[in-house]
């Protein structure tokens, strides 16, 4: 995987805007920290990074890292280490919809290459790139754990499975037009029942 993947870059950047926790998040943080023994609050760094990413348009800026370090009373470099280690923390801005295409063997055998091509064509952006209208960022990832329903993609928090070129195009079109999409299998399967 190339270093340009937004989750696999070691270069962090500033958003230029102050980052402070939303009221809801402050409440969840209190709850999360209470799960760990006293003096071990730093263990909460991963859930806090997740909250920060959610609140900060799906990416971790330096401001986020500094806020987390302050909240958990830990060195900034330690937060940075964790954020850079896991590929699901995006270290640079991504589009409104982060499209993650599974390219591991089962999906690939079922034609993930075609899905990738379709998505790149429909969103008008290349892999690891963000479209000009900032609607999409497309990345290739390793196994997302839905092998029996491959090929599949993940857009933000939702899985879209059993894809072919046509259904993929439709999903992208719906997002562009702001219409809702069917989540999960595009062939009407429930879970991973026999087709």
């Amino acid at each position: 995987m190339s270093g340009n993947h937004p989750g696999l870059s070691n270069n962090f950047s500033r958003s230029g805007e102050k980052f402070s926790w939303s009221k809801d998040n402050l409440r969840s943080i209190k709850n999360i920290i209470s799960k760990y023994p006293k003096g071990r609050e730093q263990s909460a760094v991963m859930p806090l990074l997740y909250l920060a990413q959610e609140q900060n348009n799906n990416w971790i800026s330096i401001e986020c890292i500094e806020t987390i370090a302050e909240t958990l009373n830990m060195p900034k470099i330690r937060v940075t280490e964790v954020a850079s280690f896991y590929s699901m923390y995006n270290t640079r801005p991504v589009g409104e919809n982060l499209v993650q295409i599974c390219r591991t063997s089962p999906c690939w055998l079922r034609g993930s290459n075609k899905i990738t091509k379709t998505i790149c064509k429909e969103t008008k952006c290349e892999i690891n790139d963000t479209s000009d209208d900032n609607k999409f960022t497309v990345v290739e990832v390793e196994c997302l754990g839905a092998c029996s329903n491959g090929p599949m993609i993940q857009i933000n928090n939702d899985f879209y499975e059993d894809l072919d070129e046509e259904s993929t195009k439709k999903i992208i079109d719906n997002i562009k037009e702001g219409k809702p999409n069917v989540i999960g299998s595009q062939k009407g399967r429930r879970s991973s029942e026999n087709a």
Binding site: I62, E70, M74, P75, I77, S84
Partner: protein, 677 residues
């Protein structure tokens, strides 16, 4: 305790070792050398380089010996084919991405990877793929980085966090993308940062000033002592011809362990800047070049008629101090002074030295800093306080609310805050409390009663007991304790120097003390013995060049009272002459009693007079401890810290270009001063 000992076998040889050791430590006791990169005995165990693989009988696979605890009856094999093959495999992996740039690498010749590749490396690589390249990172003006060479042992990360106490280094990314960096590539803000250069087992972190200067086998090694603070860290000075090219630490577990401060490591370029290389005499308000014959003749005539006072600076060794004392004794008593900063002392050694042996600081469970900033005055002592802090010691601070790399509870400005109820409560609970009184107050104390009261306070709260004395006095000057031991002070009743009647003196001889430029000496004839052109030299009537500590032999007593020798590394610059030989010449011409003809004679006379000094490396015992008198009161005085800028605290570092860069890039960038908590 036999309970802690277990029997194990190393290569079929049976040994008894402490059960709390690791397999690697046991192998070392058995005399087997284990190759390693990430393991370092002063740092926490990481176990990520895998070079220290050994075979343990009945274990299915090779194990990394640095992380493996011992067990009763364990049989360890370090020299089998399997072990060798395993280590060779690890080495091959390490070398996949390591560049083959040893010919242009500063570490070449003293590189762990190079050495171990001689044993475990192959002659050619089996990999055709491109090697990975990593961008170099900024770590400040001292540490040079070539990150492609990094093998990710994380020694530097652990050092910064655990020893230096500045968690600023880290490893970002993972796997092939792993990179060592400082947070946002800012400079490391530690006073001990240079030690990562020694720790780095490859050439990824090297010295910036030493870059491309020399190869290790070209250098001449001289053992010496750090004279830029009072700790007396053991250093080795590496020189080629008449130039010092680098300074590195020597291990001394009692003092500096394996670390030295950045000041002594990097300020050596200042040794050659602004040097006084020839005698000068003031003519028409301007110093002009003279020669030894002329200047000594003028000085001799003045010495015949005027009554002299000698000032001793912060870098003066004991032999010189003794020669000065002997020379001045021809003019009567009380005319030599090293306490030019009004350092208040009592008659005994335990009132001006660090009474706790430095290696025991870490055992304290309560530390009270009184008018001292150990972080910039004595970084090595600060590291030891940091160790105690990590062992859950509580640290209080009185004086200014200074920022340190550990948490302190600030109690207020004045000395009387020692009676604060928080401290009293903590002192009563503590089993091993330690008080450090720094120069910020010591130089301000006007009343001997205050010092006596500090002793009675320490006695009352069990800081001083029959077994130990944990009441410590800390000053940042390398010469001070030794000069006070040989009695180079004007007043044995220990009044501050400022109380001395200066009108009695008409001639001031300053041995590297800038206090000669003080207003109080304006009416005196001034003679300056020194190596660097500073304020002291500029205002003097005669300036005589003397060698630096690396250009002569000398004895220094460190802050805990341990005499150590700094050896001569190369010849003096210009026509500089050692102080004792100048005084010898003068006293011969003045027909004074000044016997020694050679330096060795001078030294043996010094040791005859003060036999306690001759026992190098041993802490001097206190003969008559201070008698405890009832507590009276602490006078109210405002703390004034002797060192405000770590990188420029003395005339040598003020002349160092490297130190100037540090001030620019580390101190003057305000955002870097904010410590991450």
């Amino acid at each position: 305790m036999s309970d802690d000992l277990i029997k194990i076998k190393v290569n079929q040889k049976e040994i008894q070792v402490d059960k709390n050791l690791t397999v690697m430590q046991a192998c070392e006791i058995a005399g087997e050398e284990i190759p390693r990169f990430c393991y370092h005995d002063k740092l926490s165990i990481a176990g990520n380089c895998r070079m220290c693989l050994v075979e343990i009988e009945k274990a299915p696979k090779l194990v990394s010996s640095c992380t493996m605890p011992l067990m009763e009856g364990m049989s360890i094999i370090t020299n089998s084919e399997k072990v060798n093959a395993g280590r060779k495999g690890v080495m091959e992996f390490l070398l996949i991405n390591h560049p083959l740039d040893c010919p242009i690498c500063d570490q070449g010749g003293e590189c762990d990877l190079q050495d171990q590749a001689m044993y475990y490396g192959f002659d050619k690589s089996r990999y055709k793929e491109n090697k990975r390249a990593v961008d170099n990172k900024n770590m400040g003006p001292l540490v040079n980085t070539i990150m492609t060479r990094c093998i990710h042992c994380t020694r530097c990360v652990r050092f910064a966090t655990e020893v230096a106490g500045v968690p600023e280094l880290g490893m970002l990314g993972r796997g092939e993308n792993a990179e060592i960096t400082t947070y946002l590539e800012q400079s490391i803000t530690s006073e001990l940062s240079g030690n990562v250069i020694d720790l780095c087992p490859v050439g990824a972190l090297t010295s910036k000033p030493y870059q491309f200067k020399a190869r290790p086998w070209e250098l001449k090694r001289t053992d010496s002592i750090d004279i830029f603070d009072s700790v007396g860290s053991n250093i080795r000075v590496d020189s080629r011809a008449e130039e010092i090219l680098r300074v590195t630490p020597r291990t001394n577990e009692y003092i500096n362990e394996e670390w030295i401060s950045d000041k002594v490591r990097f300020n050596y370029d200042g040794y050659y800047q602004q040097r006084i290389d020839t005698p000068y005499i003031k003519e028409n308000q301007k110093l002009s070049i003279s020669n030894w014959e002329e200047s000594l003749k003028v000085l001799k005539d003045k010495l015949k008629t005027l009554k002299p006072l000698a000032l001793i600076g912060e870098h003066v060794d004991l032999e010189t101090g003794y020669a000065i004392k002997k020379f001045m004794s021809n003019y009567g008593k009380d005319n030599v002074e090293c306490r030019t900063d009004n350092h208040a002392i009592l008659e005994s050694l335990d009132s001006y030295r660090f009474n706790t042996p430095l290696k025991d600081i870490e055992n304290a469970d309560l530390i009270i800093l009184v008018g001292t900033n150990p972080k910039i005055e004595t970084p090595i002592i600060n590291h030891k306080i940091f160790k105690a802090y990590n062992n859950d010691a509580k640290v209080f601070n009185i004086g200014e609310n200074i920022s340190l790399n550990y948490k302190t509870e600030y109690l207020g400005e004045s000395l009387s805050n020692l009676n604060n109820e928080n401290i009293i409560k903590a002192l009563k609970k503590s089993t091993n409390p330690l008080i450090i009184i720094g120069s910020a107050f010591l130089n301000k104390i006007k009343n001997i009663k205050t010092l006596k009261s500090i002793f009675s306070y320490a006695d009352k709260y069990k800081v001083i007991t029959k077994e130990k004395n944990n009441l410590n006095f800390l000053n940042p000057y390398a010469s001070r304790v030794g000069q006070l031991i040989i009695g180079n002070t004007t007043n044995n009743l220990c009044e501050p120097f400022s109380n001395l009647k200066k009108d009695n003196f008409e001639l001031v001889l300053s041995f590297g003390s800038e206090h000669i430029a003080d207003e109080q000496f304006n009416n005196c004839f001034k003679v300056y013995f020194g190596h660097h052109g500073d304020d002291g030299a500029m205002g003097s009537d005669i300036v005589l060049p003397t060698p630096l500590y690396t250009e002569k032999n000398g004895t220094f007593v460190n802050i805990e009272g341990r005499p150590q020798e700094a050896k001569k590394c190369h010849n003096p610059i210009g026509s500089a002459k050692e102080e004792w030989s100048i005084l010898k010449k003068l006293s011969d011409e003045l027909s004074f009693d000044f016997i020694p003809n050679t330096f060795d004679q001078l030294r043996s006379e010094l040791f005859d007079k003060h036999p306690i000094l001759s026992d190098y490396h041993e802490i001097i015992a206190v003969e008559n401890s201070i008698s405890i008198t009832p507590y009276i009161e602490f006078e109210d005085c405002k703390a004034e810290y002797p060192v405000s800028n770590f990188y420029m605290s003395d005339v040598i570092s003020k002349n160092s270009v490297t130190m100037a860069k540090c001030v620019d890039e580390i101190i003057s960038t305000p955002s870097l001063l904010e410590k991450s908590a």
